[in-house]
């Protein structure tokens, strides 16, 4: 798929839960710590499978014989923001997959690379005030070979995902630069990881 024009929102309309395929609103009634009855409104996905976890994000380290250690981020148009997001590769976990399987599959689809899973994080809550969406982060390594060509992605129809390799030493600064660009926004999870990485390397507290 070649990029021939800028994507654009043509219409926004209210969507009722009964008409939605992927997401829903729920009204929760609960008793709080004092025994009082209260309510909360929550957005939820309709797609959660056996893993009990919606999504996996794939923190990754690219190791190359002659280039500095780097990480690969993906840039794609995200209709909810009407903007291009900078994220680590990520995706929903299919109904019959483990988190590890989803990480390897999604990483292959979005980057073209086979990877080795180094660790899997605990389950994390994506946006706990608004939704029940949850995720785990996989950390993976990719061993590159000298002069090997960039592999082909395995994208679904309609997916156009740009790959960008960022040297680890420039990780945070490059995300800050992306944030200054028009119609571009860095995903909070990626930015927070990079901010924590940068903080550790520059802080004078400990």
């Amino acid at each position: 798929m070649s990029k021939t024009q800028e994507p654009a929102i043509t219409k926004v309309s209210d969507l009722e839960t009964r008409d939605a395929k992927w997401i829903a609103l729920k009204k929760l009634e609960f008793t709080d710590q004092t025994g009082k009855s209260r309510t909360w409104e929550v957005a939820t996905r309709k797609t959660r499978g056996q893993a009990g976890v919606d999504a996996v994000a794939i923190g990754n380290i690219l190791l190359h014989p002659s280039h500095p250690p780097a990480t690969m981020v993906v840039i794609q148009y995200r209709p909810p923001l009407d903007a291009y997001t900078v994220e680590w590769p990520a995706g929903l976990i299919d109904a019959d997959e483990t988190v590890e399987q989803a990480a390897v599959r999604e990483f292959k689809e979005e980057t073209g690379y086979d990877c080795r899973v180094v660790s899997i994080s605990p389950v994390q809550s994506a946006d706990p005030g608004m939704s029940d969406a949850n995720m785990q982060m996989a950390m993976v390594e990719v061993q590159l070979e000298e002069n090997a060509p960039l592999p082909e992605q395995r994208l679904d129809d309609g997916e156009l995902i740009e790959r960008v390799t960022i040297p680890l030493a420039d990780f945070y600064e490059r995300l800050v630069e992306y944030s200054k660009q028009d119609r571009m926004i860095v995903a909070a999870k990626l930015f927070h990881f990079a901010a924590g990485f940068h903080f550790a390397r520059t802080q004078k507290y400990i």
Copy 2:
């Protein structure tokens, strides 16, 4: 407000967008990079104000004359997860507030402390595949005095927020420990910051 019982969900029902007060579903129609018409379903907040940003999270450093540098996290029952979340203090930005003002106000409400804002991050996307929710992170410092009592929080009716101080040196490990506890989940933004912090301090790549 004293904690007298465990909170519990008593009823979950579908909520239609027309009946929701805080959040909504929208159907987006857009043309992609090839000119093809496509649709996307998105969850959105109804509360965004003049800042154009939904929320602020407050990364914080507590400096004490005789204790090691630390950060304060808050633990509260979150109905969307039916669990207790570990997060940095955070909140929605009011319609007439700047991000800095919201950070200082929310930090005072949830922790009781006055703080000095050190930096404000670019706008970040909370969960870009599912919602248009966005946020900025404020980094703040609090200078504590020897033997000063823990200040009173300024919580809304119904809010019960536990404060926990974690030495920076134990930041990541403590979040991993929390993740193992029953009915407890760490928010993804906090976990990713701590994971990036830990990664920088333990990685052998650069």
